[in-house]
Symmetry: C3
Subunit: 404 residues, 3 copies
C-alpha cells in the first residue's frame, strides 16, 4: 500500500518535505539547473597561484562550458570561452600550457593573451575586421580567497551579494574568514571524487549533521557534539563553531596533534573549533585552526557529480612536508574519510529518487532546517514558487522551469 | 520499392499483422509498459524458500522499483519499497541479508521486519510521529507455486482473474497444475540470460512453435510433433499437451531417460507430455513428467530483457544430485539450448524493428494465433483500441498511450 | 562578456556565418537529417566488384537501415532491406556470404536472390500468398564509377540531377571524370576512420583549403598553391585543378615519384593536377594522374561519423603491388595523413558546437564560399528557408524541421 507523502511536516518538525524525487533524476531539470544556476552564478574555478606566470593557462569546466583561464602580462588573470571566433575549434586542446599567444590549431587564428585577434592567414585582405569583436569571448573573473571565481553569464550577479553574502550569513561578517588568511595558504593535497549522485544530494548531505553519528565515526570522535546531530547547524545570532573534544589534539583522523602551527591571525573564538560554510551553488569551505578544506562540485549529469577537494596549509607547512620533515597524512585522511562516507551515502540515495515511494519527496527532521532553506533557494533560482503555507499546499510543478 | 504492409491478414490466415515495429524500440512506449503493465500487475519475484528463516531478506526489481522481500517473525512474507521514509536512501544495500530489523545506513532510521518505524535518532523530540505512516511502504505479496508474487500498484488486480486465469485458460482448470506439486519442488539449477531484445519479442517467440523446426533440433527430436509448428498451440476444448516421441526416454538433451522418478501425483493424461503456459506479463511455466521449468523476464529497457530460468525437481532428486548420485545435466541442458536458440533469434529480430520495412509490422501465419491474442491484450493494457475489422482498418496509434 | 555573432558577414567577406552550433549537436536535427537527406538521396554503398559472382551478398548501412546487396544470376545487382517479411528477423546475419537463396534463420522463409518468396513451412496451406508482396522489399540501385549506389526512398531523386550534377558543376561536363576510368580501377587500400564529430563538420573541412597551411604539411609540400588557402576552391568558368609543385615527382607522402604509370586516358589538362569533388550528401572524389581516392561517410549519431576511404589504382598496379613488385605505401600514406589531420581538427571542433559562444555560429572567410553553398543546400534539404539578405536577417529556426 503506497502511503502518499503529502506536503506536510513531520510531527514535531516545521519543515516541509524535500522536493519530489524526480528533481534529482530528470535530465531536463538538470539542463535548467545548468542554464539558470551554474551558468548564471559565480563558480569557484581554480587556485590563482596555479597560474605561475604570464602566459600560463589552464582550461576548466563551468556549467556546460569549457573556459580558458590565463595570466596575462599586463591585465592580471583573464578568462575566455575556449572557442575560436572563426569556425569554433577548441583554441587550447590540452588542460594546461604556457605560450605568448593563444593560437587555434585549425586555421591559425591567433589571439593575444588579453583576447584580441592579432593574426590570421589572409587577414590583410579583410582590413576592417574588428580585432576585439573577432577576439576570444571574455568571461567574468574575480579573485577571492586565493581562488579564481568565474561567471559565464553576460551580466554576472553581484559577487558581494552572492558569494560574500553566504559568508556574512554564516559568520555575521566577512572579516571573520579573513583571519584564516586563505588567500596566502598553499595546497598540500587535492583529491577528486567521481560521485554517482545528483549535485543537490551532495549539498543536502553537507548541510546537516544528523547523519554524523551513523556514518562518520572518526569525525564524531574529534568533534563529539556532532554525535547529537545538531552542532554545526545552530546559530545564536553570533559566530558559532563546533568544539573539538576535550582530549583531542587536532583535526586529524585519530585526534592526535597535527605537528604544525595554527594559522597566525586567528582570534580566540576561532581556536579549537571547526566552521563550515556552503557558498551556493557549489562550494564548501571548512576551517580548523591549522588548515582549511575547500570543496568544489562540478555537476556532470543529473546522476553524476565530480567533487574536487583541496587541503590548504601555511606555505612553510607544505614546504616542510615536501621536504619530509612533517606528515600531512593524518590531517588529510580525516576529511578524505568523511568525503568517502558522505559520497557513498549520496550514491545509495540517488537510485531511490526515481521510486514512486519518493514521488512526493522525503521528510526533514528539525535539525535539517538548512536543507529546507536550500530548497527554497533552488525553487527561486529556477523561477518557481513554493507555497508559503506548508500543510497541504501543493508545490508548484518543477517541470515548469525545465523547458530550457 | 517499399511495399506497404497494410493491416490485412496474410492470405490463408485470419491473423492481423503485428504492431508497428516502433512499439519494440520507442523508449516512451517502454516507459508506458513499465507503468501500465509491470507496475500494475502481479510479478513473479523469487522462490519463497530462498527466504530460509525470519529476518532473511532479498531485494528484487519489479518494473522500475527495487523491493525488499523479507520473512517476518509473525506475519509471514512481507515486501516493501527499498526507500527510507526520511531522505530516501536504499535501506538494504546488498542483494541479500539477515537481520532483526531493517536499518537505513544514512541516519539510522530503523524499521521492524513488519515495516513500522521503531527507532531513529532524536525521535523522542518528535513524539507524535506516526510509526506506521513513516514506516517502510508496503507492497502487495502473494505466494503461489512456491514463488512470492509481488504487485507494486496501490490497488492490485485480482490474482484469481489474472494469474490463475491464465492457467485456467490453458488447462481448463487450475487444479491440473496442482498435480505437479510445484510449491514443494526444489531448484536444481537457475540460469540468467541477458537478452538484447524487447520483452515482447521474447513472449511472442514463446507463443509459437512455427520456428521449432528451424532453430530447435534437440527439442523437435524429443517432441516430434513440434516439427509441424503446431502442436502445443492446439486446444480442442480440453487439456492438451505435446507428446514425447515414441523412442524417447525423457525430456533430456539427447532423449535418454533422466534417471529419476516422475512427480508422484500426475494423472495419466500428464504422462509423457510437455505443457507450456504463459502467465502474462512475464512468466513461462513448462511442465514435463519429472520436472518443471519456469522463466521470469525482467524488462530493463526497450531493447534489453533479463530472463531468469529455474529448473525445479523433487527435493530428493536435488539432494541425490548434490550428493553426486545422479546428474541433472542432460535434463537442464535441453531447455538451456532452447533458451539460447530462442534468445539468439530475438536478438537478431530486434534491430529490424526500427526499419521502415517493418514500420507497418510483420505477417502472422495461422499457427501464430496466440501472438495475435497477446497483441490484443497489449493494446488493451495500454488503453488503446485496435480496430475490430482487420482488413484495411487503421490501428489506433500506440504513441497515444506513451505519454506517461 | 558574450559577443553576439549576428547574421552578418566578416568585414571583407560576403559570406554569412555558419548555422547555429546546435545543428551539429541536437539529436532531433540529426534524426531529421537521416530521414530527409541520407534516406532520401543516393548513397555510395560499396564497390561493385566486391560482389564477385552470382549469390555473393554483403550488408551495408544506409541512413538508419541495413541493406542486403547481392549479385543475382539474371538481374544484375539487387538490394533489399535486411528484414524478413514474416516477423522481421535479419535475413542475413553476417556482413558477407554466398548462397543460392536468402533464407531467414528464424522460420525458414526463403527468398530468391531476385527477392521473391520461394518457400516457407506450411506455405502450401496459404496458396494465395503473393510471392512478390511477401518477398524481400527492394531498394533502388545504380552502378556508377564501379560503385553500387543505393537509395532507400520509395521515389529516388534523379541520379543525373543529383550525383552526376555535382560532377558537372565541378568539371563543367561529366565526361571529364570518365578519362580516369574509375569503373575499371581496383582497390589497393581501404581505411576506415571512426570520427567523433558531426558529419557536416567533415564536409565543411573538405570544402576549404584555408586550413591546409596549418595542418597539412605533406600536402602543401606536394601542392604548394594549397598553402595560400585558395587553390582548389577557384573556378574560372572552366575545368580547374591544383598543380603539383615544380620539383614534385608524384602525389606521394614525400613528393617522390610513385613508380607506376599514369591512368591511360587522361587529357593534358589533367596531368600533374589534383581535382576534388564533393558529391552530396556523403562522398568525396579526389583524382590525381595515377590514382583516385574516394571517401564515403556513414553518419552514426550527431557526434559520430564513420568514414571509409578507398585508394583505387589500375588493376595491373595492384597486381604488381600484391606480388611485391612495387609499393603503394608512399601514395596511400599522403592522403591517410591528410585524413588523420582533418578528422583530428573536426573532433576538436565538435565540443565547441554546444557552447553559448557558438550559439550564433562562426565566421567564414572569402575562400570558404563552398561552405556557404553547402549550408544553403542543407537548409533547403530540411525544408527550411534561410534569409536571402545576410546582414541582420534572422535565419529560420532549424528546430522547425526537426519534428521527425
Amino acid at each position: 500500500m503506497i502511503i502518499e507523502h503529502v506536503d506536510e511536516p513531520l510531527p514535531g518538525s516545521s519543515l516541509r518535505p524535500t522536493p519530489p524525487g524526480r528533481v534529482y533524476t530528470d535530465p531536463s531539470i538538470f539542463g535548467a539547473e545548468q542554464a539558470e544556476i551554474f551558468e548564471k552564478m559565480w563558480n569557484c574555478a581554480l587556485r590563482a597561484d596555479d597560474l605561475h606566470s604570464a602566459g600560463h593557462w589552464k582550461t576548466v569546466t563551468i556549467g556546460r562550458e569549457e573556459v580558458i583561464v590565463t595570466r596575462t602580462r599586463k591585465a592580471g588573470i583573464k578568462a575566455y570561452f575556449n572557442v575560436c571566433a572563426h569556425r569554433g575549434m577548441r583554441v587550447c586542446t590540452t588542460g594546461e600550457g604556457k605560450s605568448r599567444t593563444l593560437q587555434c590549431g585549425y586555421h591559425a587564428w591567433t589571439y593575444a593573451l588579453e583576447g584580441d585577434l592579432v593574426a590570421a592567414p589572409n587577414l590583410t585582405s579583410m582590413p576592417d575586421v574588428d580585432r576585439s569583436r573577432y577576439g576570444l569571448q571574455l568571461v567574468h573573473v574575480r579573485e577571492w580567497l586565493g581562488y579564481v571565481w568565474i561567471c559565464v553569464a553576460e551580466e554576472p550577479p553581484s559577487f558581494d551579494d552572492t558569494v560574500l553574502g553566504e559568508v556574512r550569513t554564516r559568520f555575521g561578517q566577512v572579516e571573520s574568514i579573513d583571519n584564516y588568511g586563505i588567500e596566502s595558504l598553499r595546497r598540500g593535497e587535492t583529491k577528486t571524487y567521481d560521485v554517482a549522485a545528483n549535485w543537490k544530494l551532495i549539498i543536502e548531505n553537507f548541510m546537516e549533521c544528523y547523519h554524523c553519528a551513523t556514518i562518520h565515526p572518526e569525525l564524531t570522535e574529534v568533534i563529539p557534539e556532532f554525535a547529537d546531530g545538531l552542532a554545526s547547524q545552530r546559530k545564536n545570532g553570533e559566530v558559532h563553531g563546533s568544539n573539538f573534544g576535550e582530549d583531542i589534539g587536532g583535526f586529524t583522523v585519530d585526534g592526535s596533534a597535527s605537528g604544525f602551527e595554527e594559522l597566525p591571525s586567528l582570534v580566540p573564538g576561532q581556536d579549537r573549533k571547526y566552521y563550515a560554510i556552503t557558498v551556493k551553488p557549489h562550494v564548501f569551505i571548512n576551517t580548523v585552526p591549522d588548515h582549511v578544506i575547500i570543496h568544489r562540485m562540478v555537476p556532470v549529469s543529473e546522476s553524476r557529480t565530480v567533487v574536487v577537494c583541496d587541503w590548504l596549509f601555511l606555505p612553510e607547512v607544505v614546504e616542510r612536508a615536501d621536504a619530509g620533515q612533517l606528515d600531512l597524512t593524518t590531517s588529510v585522511e580525516l576529511f578524505h574519510r568523511v568525503n568517502e562516507q558522505d559520497f557513498n551515502a549520496c550514491e545509495l540515495t540517488q537510485p531511490s529518487m526515481s521510486s514512486q515511494a519518493y514521488a512526493a519527496g522525503g521528510a526533514l527532521v528539525p535539525s535539517e532546517h538548512h536543507i529546507e532553506e536550500f530548497h527554497t533557494w533552488w525553487y527561486e533560482s529556477l523561477g518557481m514558487e513554493r507555497a508559503s503555507s506548508p500543510a497541504g499546499a501543493a508545490q508548484s510543478e518543477p517541470a515548469a522551469a525545465a523547458g530550457s
